[in-house]
C-alpha cells in the first residue's frame, strides 16, 4: 500500500475545480426544487498543510467533505488529486480511497457496534488485500499509536469506550490504509474541551510523523485558528474567502468573515461581544439571493451587490476574497479603481 508522491511539493495535493452538488427536493405542489448545497467551489489543498473550513451550519461544509471523500458524487466540476483526476483513468475511485480518509463527527455512530476495535480498524487494510492476521496486527499498532493500549482496547466494543477513546479509534481507522489526506469533519466538535485538546495534539503529532495533510472542518473558530495553516470560509455553498490563517484573522477581506470573527466569544470578560454582528438565518439554499449571496445580510450592501456576483479576488499574497469591495471596477462605492498587483507569489 504505497501512496507515492507524484507531482512534487508544489503540486497541490487536492484541487477542487468548480465543484457543484445540487440535491433535488420535492417542493410544494410537486414542484421540483434543488438545494444548491455546493455551488461552484474552487480551492486547493496544499501538500502538508492543514486547511481549515469554516462557515455557518448549512453552508455546505459537510457536503464538501463528503464530495472530497466521494461518498457522494459531484454533479459538475472536477477533483484533481496530485495531478490526477479522481475517478479518471490513472486514479480510479478505489485507488483514491487509499489516499484519502475521513473522520466523522459522531464517534459512536461511526463505529460498528458488533465489531471489536481491532476489527473496525483492520477493516480498511483487509479490503485492500492485506491478510486477516496482518490487518489485525496493523490495527493493534495503530491503536497503540493513537494512545490506546492494544491489550486493553483491541477486543473492546464501541459502547465500552468513552467519546474521546472512540474518536481515537476512528482516527486509527482512518490511518489504517496509509492515506495522505485526512478529512476531519467536525471530528473534535462533540468532545469535551480537555479531551478535544488531547485529540488535537494527537492529530498534530500524527500529522508530523506520518506526513499527512488535513482538511479540518469545524464551526469552532478558536480551534480552526489553532490548527490551520490556511482557512477557507464558506457561505451558502460558495467560497467567500480563503487565505493564510493569521492574515485572515488579522485582516479579513470579506464582510462575512469579519462578522464571523466578531461573533467569536472572547476569552476576556471585559471584551464581550455586545452587538450581534449578523442577524437572522442564512437565506435558503433552494433560492439563494442574486448577485453576491451575502448582500441580504451585509452591512455594506449596495444595489450593485444584488446584481453582480463577485469573483475571488486577491487582497494579499495567497489571500483571496469574493467581495465587490475588493474587486477592481466592480461598481461598489468602495471598489478599488485598479486591481491589486501582486508580486509573483
Amino acid at each position: 500500500m504505497d501512496n507515492q508522491d507524484i507531482g512534487g511539493p508544489a503540486q497541490p495535493l487536492l484541487s477542487a475545480r468548480q465543484l457543484v452538488k445540487h440535491f433535488p427536493v420535492k417542493g410544494a405542489l410537486g414542484k421540483r426544487d434543488v438545494v444548491r448545497a455546493v455551488d461552484g467551489v474552487d480551492f486547493d489543498v496544499l501538500k502538508g498543510e492543514t486547511l481549515g473550513v469554516v462557515g455557518e451550519s448549512g453552508c455546505g461544509k459537510s457536503t464538501t467533505a463528503r464530495l472530497l471523500m466521494q461518498l457522494i458524487h459531484h454533479d459538475r466540476g472536477e477533483l484533481v488529486f496530485d495531478a490526477r483526476t479522481v475517478g479518471g483513468h490513472d486514479l480510479p475511485l478505489r485507488a483514491y480511497r487509499r489516499q484519502v480518509q475521513m473522520v466523522f463527527q459522531d464517534s459512536y455512530s461511526s463505529l460498528n457496534p458488533r465489531l471489536t476495535m481491532e476489527q473496525s480498524v483492520g477493516f480498511g487494510p483487509s479490503v485492500h488485500g492485506v491478510g486477516k492476521r496482518e490487518s489485525l496486527e496493523r490495527a493493534r499498532d495503530l491503536l497503540a499509536r493513537v494512545g490506546l493500549e492494544p491489550s486493553r482496547f483491541a477486543g473492546r466494543y464501541a459502547h465500552e469506550l468513552s467519546g474521546g477513546q472512540r474518536q481515537r479509534v476512528n482516527i486509527a481507522r482512518a490511518l489504517a490504509v496509509n492515506p495522505r489526506l485526512v478529512i476531519l469533519d467536525e471530528a473534535v466538535s462533540a468532545l469535551d474541551k480537555s479531551v478535544e485538546a488531547q485529540v488535537l495534539n494527537l492529530l498534530q503529532d500524527l500529522k508530523d510523523s506520518l506526513d499527512l495533510t488535513y482538511v479540518f472542518i469545524s464551526h469552532d473558530l478558536h480551534v480552526v485558528r489553532y490548527v490551520s495553516d490556511r482557512i477557507l470560509v464558506m457561505y451558502l455553498g460558495e467560497v467567500v474567502e480563503v487565505g493564510p490563517a493569521e492574515a485572515l484573522f488579522e485582516s479579513a477581506g470579506h464582510p462575512y468573515t469579519q462578522a464571523l470573527l466578531t461573533s467569536m466569544p472572547s476569552m476576556d470578560p471585559a471584551n464581550r461581544t455586545l452587538v450581534s454582528p449578523l442577524s437572522g438565518d442564512p437565506p435558503s439554499p433552494i433560492a439563494p439571493p442574486s448577485g453576491c449571496r451575502f448582500h441580504t445580510r451585509c452591512p455594506h450592501a449596495e444595489p450593485v451587490c444584488g446584481q453582480r456576483a463577485p469573483r475571488l479576488t486577491p487582497v494579499a499574497a495567497g489571500h483571496l476574497a469574493a467581495c465587490l469591495m475588493v474587486e477592481a471596477g466592480a461598481g461598489h462605492s468602495r471598489s478599488p479603481a485598479v486591481a491589486l498587483r501582486l508580486q509573483e507569489v
Partner: protein, 297 residues
C-alpha cells in the same frame, strides 16, 4: 491551551483482553431468563418428539377399530382416548408433531433466507431499486395472509409440497419488509459511510458491516412467524389443501375430530391444544429473544 503530547504506548506482549461479543451476551441473558428456559424446554421436547417419532410411539397410530371409536381420555390402553376411527390419539399426536412442525418451520426458514435477502438488498440499495422491490412486495401485502395462502395452495393444488411453497410465498413479503426497514436504518450510520470510504464493495459491506446488525431483529421477527405458519399450515390441512389422510397432522386431526365435539369434547380439543402450545411457545421465545437483544450491557 496547555497541551501535553500523547506518547505512543509501547507495544506489549500481554494477551488481548476481550469483551463478550454481542451474541454471547444475548445468550447469557437468555440463559438467566426462566420464561425462556420454560418455553425452550417445551420446544425442545416437541422437536425431540418429532425426530424420535416412530421409535417411541406407545401404540399404532394407523390401526383402526370400529369398536374402539371415540374412547374418552384415560381409557385403558389409550391414555388420550381414540379418534373417530378408533386410532390411538396419543400416538397420532406424537407422530403428528413431525409433519406439523415441519410444515410450520420450513416455510419460515425459506422465507427468512429469501425475504431477508430481498429486504437487505432493497434496504441497502435504496433509491429506485428500493421503490421497485418494495412496491412489488406491497402488492402481496395487500391481501390477508390466510386468503393468500389458500389462494396459492388452491392454485397449485393439494399436497404438502404445494402447501410449503404457498406458505413461503405468504411469509417472504413480511420478512422482506422487516429486513428492508432495519437495513435502511443501519445503512445511514456513519460506520457504513466509513466502510464505503475505505473502498469496500457493496457486497463486502453488507457481509461484514450490515449483516451483524440486521440479522438479530429479522431473526426474532421470523421466529414469531413460526406460530402463524403452524396455524396456517393446520388451516390448509383443515381445508384439505395440505396433508392428506391418513397421515397424522394436527390441523387435519382437528378437522376430522370436530364432528365429535359434542360427544368427546376433550379428545377433539387435543390437536388444537397441541397447536396452541407449540405456537405460543415459539411466540414467547421470540419475545424473550427480543428483550434479550434490546438490552445494552
Amino acid at each position: 491551551m496547555n497541551l501535553a503530547f500523547i506518547r505512543s504506548a509501547p507495544p506489549s506482549a500481554t494477551p488481548i483482553e476481550s469483551s463478550p461479543g454481542y451474541w454471547q451476551s444475548v445468550f447469557s441473558r437468555l440463559r438467566r431468563d426462566p420464561v425462556a428456559w420454560l418455553v425452550g424446554t417445551v420446544i425442545l421436547a416437541l422437536v425431540l418428539m418429532a425426530i424420535l417419532g416412530p421409535h417411541i410411539l406407545p401404540g399404532d397410530p394407523f390401526t383402526t377399530s370400529m369398536f374402539k371409536r371415540l374412547k374418552p381420555v384415560g381409557t385403558a390402553g389409550f391414555p388420550l382416548g381414540t379418534d373417530e376411527l378408533g386410532r390411538d390419539l396419543l400416538s397420532r399426536l406424537m407422530l403428528g408433531a413431525r409433519l406439523s412442525l415441519f410444515m410450520g418451520i420450513t416455510p419460515v426458514i425459506l422465507a427468512f433466507f429469501i425475504g431477508g435477502s430481498i429486504g437487505i438488498v432493497a434496504g441497502y440499495a435504496g433509491g429506485w431499486v428500493n421503490s421497485l422491490i418494495m412496491r412489488t412486495i406491497d402488492v402481496f401485502y395487500a391481501f390477508p395472509s390466510v386468503l393468500l395462502a389458500v389462494a396459492f395452495s388452491g392454485a397449485l393444488g393439494a399436497g404438502v409440497d404445494n402447501a410449503l411453497i404457498s406458505l413461503t410465498l405468504v411469509f417472504v413479503p413480511q420478512v422482506a419488509r422487516i429486513a428492508e426497514s432495519v437495513t435502511t436504518q443501519v445503512r445511514n450510520r456513519d460506520y457504513i459511510e466509513a466502510a464505503r470510504a475505505s473502498g469496500a464493495s457493496a457486497f463486502t459491506i453488507i457481509r461484514t458491516q450490515v449483516l451483524g446488525n440486521v440479522l438479530g431483529p429479522i431473526f426474532v421477527f421470523t421466529t414469531g412467524l413460526i406460530s402463524v405458519s403452524m396455524i396456517l399450515a393446520s388451516g390448509l390441512s383443515f381445508l384439505g389443501l395440505g396433508v392428506s389422510p391418513p397421515e397424522p397432522e394436527w390441523g387435519l386431526m382437528l378437522n376430522t375430530l370436530r364432528t365429535a365435539i359434542y360427544t368427546q369434547p376433550l379428545v377433539s380439543a387435543l390437536p388444537g391444544a397441541m397447536i396452541f402450545i407449540t405456537s405460543i411457545s415459539f411466540n414467547i421465545l421470540a419475545d424473550r429473544m427480543r428483550v434479550a437483544m434490546a438490552t445494552r450491557s
